[in-house]
């Protein structure tokens, strides 16, 4: 019943004061509450998934940052070892110790202290730890010192109760004597890929990722920003720019492996000697990241209020000055956020890099942009494929490193956004 039809004699009750209206009002509030609860539930669910994911990673990954070591008293007092003077390079000095018989001395010490069986299960690379310690501190020569040396992979599995059954008594015996335990392994961050999970490290993949990202950033950022600026500020709004816009939007949605095929067909055809190089990987990922930067950049530029442009034009700024003095500084936070989101996506990308051969076993960190390298996600992929049980924990640890780098990048994005953000 509409108020407008009622006589104006003061007897009429306004429809917003009727019982039916009160019921409707109650329903409206109920709907609003339902919506609020649904939203809160969605947030709680996503948080729970995130916590589960991160918790699972952390629990598994903690083991990846540790390795099983055997405590061995090494007797260096009888040994005729000398650190040749003037050896600056650690690797060369360690090799010199090797030729002087250090591996045999370490093995003999282990046999004496722990017995034949345990000495067998010392890692083949264990003597290197001793060697490096000696190079760092030559006064160790002529003394007896305790070293925590990595165990073999077999003993390590036995210690965690899922390896070869015949080694388990030995592992339990050594553990009971306090000679076998898991110890934090900072070397995981500085070593490179290896076949033995006790000896692997993430450094070559991390460095490969960093080099690849540098190439990607140097290419995708300027090209993406310039393209966005041109399309927003200069390009005439016509049929052709529409076509370009649609193409760029589609490019951003192309599955990443297609970009890998393109990199394989074009970049490796142009530079056939650079298979697995960060340069090629960076070029390929730049193609993938660029459309993201163009799209977010255009949106950021569009969001700059036209009144600022007018103000600058009206004092006689040329179009280029308007862009570089006013539009770009105001759009920069948005552009940077988009760039880092694009870079984060590129950092986590595996498929296109497999296509251009970045899945090689790389045991030495790449020295430059043209050396064979691998990247973090590919390394994770490779390790997850390994049969050896020891790689399971290492894979989780590598994922933690990757997530850490991503977190760092996102933190940087937030920092930059807040730093450059201006209000008007």
């Amino acid at each position: 019943m509409n108020n407008l039809d009622q006589p104006a004699d003061g007897t009429h009750v306004a429809p917003t004061r009727s019982d039916a209206y009160a019921r409707r009002l109650k329903r409206r509030y109920k709907a609003e509450r339902r919506f609020r609860y649904a939203g809160a539930a969605a947030v709680v669910f996503s948080l729970a998934v995130l916590v589960f994911l991160l918790g699972n990673m952390a629990v598994n990954g903690i083991g990846g940052f540790q390795r099983t070591v055997i405590e061995v008293p090494v007797d260096l007092s009888q040994a005729a070892l000398t650190v040749p003077p003037g050896m600056e390079d650690e690797a060369v000095a360690v090799r010199a110790l090797q030729t002087q018989g250090l591996p045999e001395i370490v093995e003999a010490s282990a046999r004496r202290a722990l017995g034949e069986d345990a000495a067998e299960e010392l890692n083949t690379d264990a003597w290197r730890i001793v060697g490096r310690a000696i190079v760092a501190d030559p006064s160790l020569l002529g003394t007896r010192a305790d070293f925590a040396l990595p165990a073999s992979e077999a003993l390590s599995s036995a210690y965690s109760r899922d390896g070869a059954r015949e080694l388990q008594p030995l592992a339990q015996d050594l553990a009971a004597r306090g000679l076998l335990y898991d110890s934090f392994d900072p070397g995981f961050l500085t070593r490179s890929d290896a076949t033995d999970p006790q000896l692997v490290g993430i450094w070559s993949a991390l460095k490969g990722s960093v080099l690849t990202m540098i190439v990607t950033l140097l290419l995708a950022f300027p090209i993406g920003v310039l393209a966005a600026l041109y399309l927003e500020e200069y390009a005439p709004k016509n049929h052709w720019t529409d076509v370009i816009e649609v193409s760029i939007n589609n490019l951003a949605a192309v599955p990443s492996i297609i970009f890998g095929l393109l990199g394989l067909a074009v970049f490796l055809w142009l530079f056939p000697s650079m298979r697995s190089a960060p340069l090629i990987g960076g070029l390929t990922l730049a193609l993938m990241t660029m459309p993201v930067i163009v799209i977010t950049g255009r949106n950021a530029i569009k969001a700059v209020p036209p009144s600022i442009r007018d103000g600058a034009l009206a004092v006689g700024a040329s179009p280029v000055q308007v862009v570089f003095h006013h539009v770009l500084p105001l759009a920069l936070p948005g552009i940077l956020t988009g760039t880092i989101i694009g870079m984060a996506r590129a950092l986590g990308e595996t498929a296109p890099l497999l296509m251009i051969g970045m899945r090689a076993f790389v045991a030495t960190p790449p020295a430059g942009f043209t050396d064979p390298a691998t990247v973090l996600p590919v390394q994770i992929f490779l390790w997850s494929d390994e049969i050896d049980r020891g790689f399971v924990e290492r894979t989780s640890a590598a994922i933690i490193v990757l997530l850490g780098v991503l977190l760092l990048m996102n933190g940087l994005a937030i920092y930059l956004r807040n730093k450059f953000e201006k209000r008007w």
């Binding site: 709004k237 009144s307 006689g316 003095h325």
Partner: protein
């Protein structure tokens, strides 16, 4: 007189070095003409927003453009310093001259034109930079000052002239956007003054301001009169009557009447002007 003074500034010479010297009549008759428009039509695509407008802007007066919403007065104002260039579909026909130079001629540098014909907008639009940088920006990009001392001087002079110096002299490094609306608008006027223009166009400069801020801007317009040729678009007939000496009444894209303000408001020639003045529409 104003022209002769400003013409002697070195900055002006530098700005003009690529353009033929303006043809200025040696002995000008009493009402000088700073800008003149002849048969100007402005189109937005196929739509004609301004139809055959001819008008002279005199340097010693404040000229007000009045008229109902959508009558094209702002469009015409923006044609005077080619701000319409930024709208892709806009097209201008006819001839607009500044000191006898056709501003739509290919020889006319639009950057230089806008330095000579400044503009203040409806909504205060200071740059999101410091107050100092807001003022210093124009002189810097035009190279009107060498060294910090000279820029400091221009900043102070412009702010003084815009009546803002006393209020902001202790916080020149604060953001221009942190000022109140009226202060922001005076900052924008100071910004326009800083490049020493010959003409200042104001597009409803007080429509976003409260009455006190409006009064201050009007006072300021009065002080600036004579120094610059001022053109002000306004919605408020009282404002036009208060600040202007010449008034042009626009209606539906046509210039209906252009005369002394006193005459427009007391004894308009056209019926339509009379209807608008008396509040019949608008």
């Amino acid at each position: 007189m104003v022209n002769e003074q400003t013409a002697e500034l070195p900055s002006r010479e530098r700005l003009q070095q690529h353009v033929p010297a303006p043809i200025v009549a040696e002995e000008q008759p009493a009402p000088q003409v700073k800008m003149c428009a002849r048969d100007v039509s402005v189109f937005y695509g196929a739509k004609k927003a301004i139809d055959n407008v001819s008008i002279d802007i005199h340097p010693q007066f404040v000229t007000a453009f009045i008229g109902p919403s959508g009558c094209g007065k702002s469009t015409f104002l923006r044609a005077l310093n080619r701000m319409n260039d930024t709208i892709p579909s806009a097209r201008v026909e006819g001839c607009i001259e500044l000191d006898g130079e056709d501003i739509y001629h290919s020889d006319m540098d639009v950057v230089q034109l806008r330095a000579r014909v400044g503009m203040v907008f409806q909504k205060p639009n200071p740059f999101p930079k410091s107050i100092y940088d807001n003022i210093a920006y124009g002189p810097k990009i035009h190279g009107l000052a060498s060294g910090k001392a000279e820029i400091d001087q221009i900043v102070e002079k412009s702010l003084r002239r815009a009546g803002l110096w006393e209020e902001v002299k202790d916080r020149l490094t604060d953001s221009g956007t942190a000022l109140s609306g009226g202060q922001q608008q005076r900052l924008c006027i100071a910004r326009a003054i800083a490049v020493d223009p010959e003409v200042i166009l104001m597009d409803e400069p007080c429509s976003a301001l409260d009455p006190i801020a409006t009064a201050k801007i009007e006072e300021l317009i009065d002080e600036l009169r004579g120094r610059y040729a001022l053109v002000i678009v306004t919605h408020s007939m009282q404002q036009a009557a208060r600040v202007s000496q010449r008034t042009a009444f626009f209606h539906l894209g046509n210039l209906v009447e252009y005369d002394d303000t006193s005459r427009i408001f007391t004894n308009p020639r056209e019926e339509r002007t009379k209807d608008y003045i008396t509040g019949r529409y608008g």
